[in-house]
């Protein structure tokens, strides 16, 4: 085991191991920032047990590999770093992420990618409630969330932009997704669903569309990338049936507040 204190090695390719056992999140995140200030760009965090806000407050791109279960708001406000998690993440992963890359070899809690403004999040298994809530996009900044498993209710609620891909790989053939109120209040962006979903599961603000050639091209890229991370067969996934959910109108609650 590497001793607790990080040995400062100016070589940027050097991978530093930090032991998170017993550290409060403030201590751990300060240790990470100090390590980065010391010139390191690749960090392994061991024995992580619920420390929050890991990967935030870094103004240069860092590669962080997390062993254990990180706490809420992993990678919140992240600007370009890359996080790989060997395990599950909790609520608020990718909260208001501006840019960067989060790969989760496990499941995610609620509000994954809340209000994200860019970057990519790949989750191998299931996700919780309100995944992608309030995601938004602007010019070339378009956040992307790709989920291998299925989701719980309010997927894509109030989305103003960005892309969510729900693959349902762990559903049996013929089994439906169970999430309800999908796309409630959605007024931008797109949700791609692989597998079956009933009309009654969709929010009133969402319309269903067939895939255009551009959609297929976009999905191919994302699914190949997803498969690369988790060792799936991309073509097999692509052979499934997909639908696209898009907002019916730009201001679904337009008349609700202003008359």
């Amino acid at each position: 085991m590497v001793p607790r204190s990080a040995h400062q090695d100016p070589n940027a390719d050097q991978v530093v191991q930090l032991d998170a056992a017993g550290l409060h999140y403030r201590q751990l995140n300060e240790l990470v920032r100090a390590t980065v200030a010391g010139g390191m760009r690749k960090i392994k965090l061991l024995n992580v047990h619920g420390q929050r806000y890991i990967g935030t407050g870094l103004d240069l791109a860092v590669d962080i590999e997390v062993f254990g279960t990180p706490g809420n708001d992993l990678g919140a406000f992240m600007r370009g770093s890359r996080i790989l998690v060997h395990g599950n993440v909790q609520d608020g992963c990718g909260n208001t992420m501006d840019d960067g890359y989060i790969t989760v070899e496990g499941r995610a809690g609620d509000i994954l990618g809340l209000a994200a403004r860019g970057g990519k999040i790949f989750v191998r298994d299931n996700v919780g409630y309100r995944t992608g809530i309030h995601m938004k996009e602007y010019q070339e900044k378009c956040p992307i969330v790709v989920i291998g498993g299925t989701a719980q209710d309010f997927l894509g609620e109030y989305m103003a932009g960005g892309i969510i891909v729900l693959l349902g790989l762990n559903l049996d053939s013929g089994e439906f997704h169970q999430c309800r109120f999908v796309g409630t209040g959605m007024h931008g962006g797109a949700v791609y669903i692989r597998g079956q979903m009933r009309e009654t599961q969709l929010g009133k603000e969402v319309g269903v569309q067939e895939l255009s050639p551009e959609d297929k091209e976009l999905l191919r890229g994302l699914i190949m990338e997803f498969s690369g991370h988790f060792g799936y067969n991309g073509d097999e996934i692509l052979s499934g049936t997909f639908i696209k959910l898009i907002p019916r109108h730009l201001r679904p609650y337009g008349r609700l507040y202003a008359y």
Binding site: G87, G109, Q152
Partner: protein, 379 residues
């Protein structure tokens, strides 16, 4: 605590708003284990509480007098103790009583006196045996008529240990490492606009029911009016109270299974009921018509426990977190998965229930008893 309102709600809010941390472990085989793991779990969620409340419920900790009602009573003044003990001795023949063993703890500031009393089943002076309603009346009398006294718990073979402070300090103060029980529930409180007081910490208790909760219930007023018709006095301005009384009414008095009580408090939506089977819809409609005022509105997650059962339940659109996990005979409930992983890194199963979907851990032989009862009833 005569002027309990003043203690509970000095600023006279319509409800106490609080975010919190919940943690619970049950060994469904009934094997007793020390409180260390539950303390480790709730401590890992230190940032979910703000030091104004911490508490634990422990089941199976008084095995050698398991049929005795164990009263844990808090006293702010010696007079409160005299008055309460005078009241006790007129109503009951106490088997034994002693001050709760405590340990000087840095962050626990001028703790009240804590005393426990054991009442044997035949310990009633004016009745042939002590029953639940008699104990409930006793608790209500002490809590609302004796100044400076407050009952923390009054169930059989269980106890509540709580107060102002972080849970890890409360656990150290009450020496929880010296107790063993088959089921532990812990809570770290984060009251936002009311100062903590020892009686206001969670778990909330009535008989052997304990409730810890994270969130707030905006339907508190409606729930309270309904419950007060059945003799429950609601003074804590917090959902913990109405949840405890609701399950006591539904399960103990109306003999509904705890799953049905969960469906009363967090029922399916009307539009969803239309799509259910006739049998399912009929039950849900009947529950809504009968117990409509016990629907709990607002974001909440609760862990409700009583002898042999622990239930985790979140509101219908899951606005507060709840993670469940199992490992062999152990069942875990927590506000965060990482707290479970710290206590038990390798898990058989970990999942997040849908909103309104209860996670129920039940003692094995209790399940066998019910199976036997079911067989008998159909034979």
């Amino acid at each position: 605590m005569k002027n309990i309102e003043q203690w509970n709600n000095p600023y006279n809010e319509d409800k106490v708003i609080a975010a919190c941390g919940l943690f619970g472990i049950m060994d469904t085989s009934g094997r007793a284990f020390s409180g260390q793991d539950v303390v480790k779990g709730i401590t890992n969620m230190h940032d979910r509480s703000n030091g104004l409340g911490g508490g634990f419920a422990a089941y199976g900790i008084y095995p050698d007098c398991s049929d005795h009602y164990a009263f844990h009573v808090m006293y702010l003044t010696p007079r409160a103790r005299e008055e309460t003990e005078a009241f006790f001795t007129t109503s009951f023949r106490l088997a034994s009583s002693q001050e709760l063993p405590t340990r000087k703890t840095k962050n626990i500031v001028d703790p009240p006196l804590m005393v426990r009393y054991f009442i044997p089943p035949d310990g009633a002076r004016n009745m042939d045996f002590v029953d639940d309603d008699c104990v409930t009346r006793t608790v209500m009398h002490i809590n609302y008529c004796i100044e400076g006294a407050f009952v923390f718990s009054s169930g059989k073979n269980m106890g509540v240990f709580k107060g102002v402070g972080y849970p890890e300090d409360i656990a150290n103060f009450f020496r929880l490492d010296e107790y063993c029980g088959y089921m532990w529930v812990a809570h770290g409180r984060f009251p936002t606009n009311t100062p903590g007081w020892w009686g206001g910490a969670h778990p909330f208790n009535i008989l052997d029911w304990t409730v810890v909760h994270n969130g707030e219930i905006s339907s508190y007023g409606i729930n309270r009016r309904f419950l007060e018709m059945y003799g429950y006095r609601c003074t804590m301005q917090t959902d913990t109270e109405v949840v405890a009384y609701a399950v006591d009414l539904l399960v103990r008095k109306h003999h509904l299974p705890i799953e049905v009580a969960a469906r009363v408090m967090a029922p399916p939506f009307w539009e969803e009921m239309q799509r259910q089977s006739d049998k399912e819809r009929a039950l849900n409609m009947a529950l809504r018509q009968t117990y409509g005022s016990l629907l709990m509105n607002g974001p909440f997650t609760v862990i409700v426990a009583h002898q042999g059962e622990m239930m985790g339940l979140g509101d219908r659109i899951r606005l507060r977190p709840l993670t469940a996990a199992t490992k062999d005979d152990l069942v875990f409930l927590s506000s965060e998965e990482s707290a479970i992983r710290l206590v038990c890194p390798e898990l058989d199963r970990v999942w997040t229930p849908m909103g309104g979907e209860p996670v129920i851990a039940r003692l094995k032989e209790k399940r066998e008893q019910e199976a036997m009862a079911a067989v008998r009833s159909t034979a």
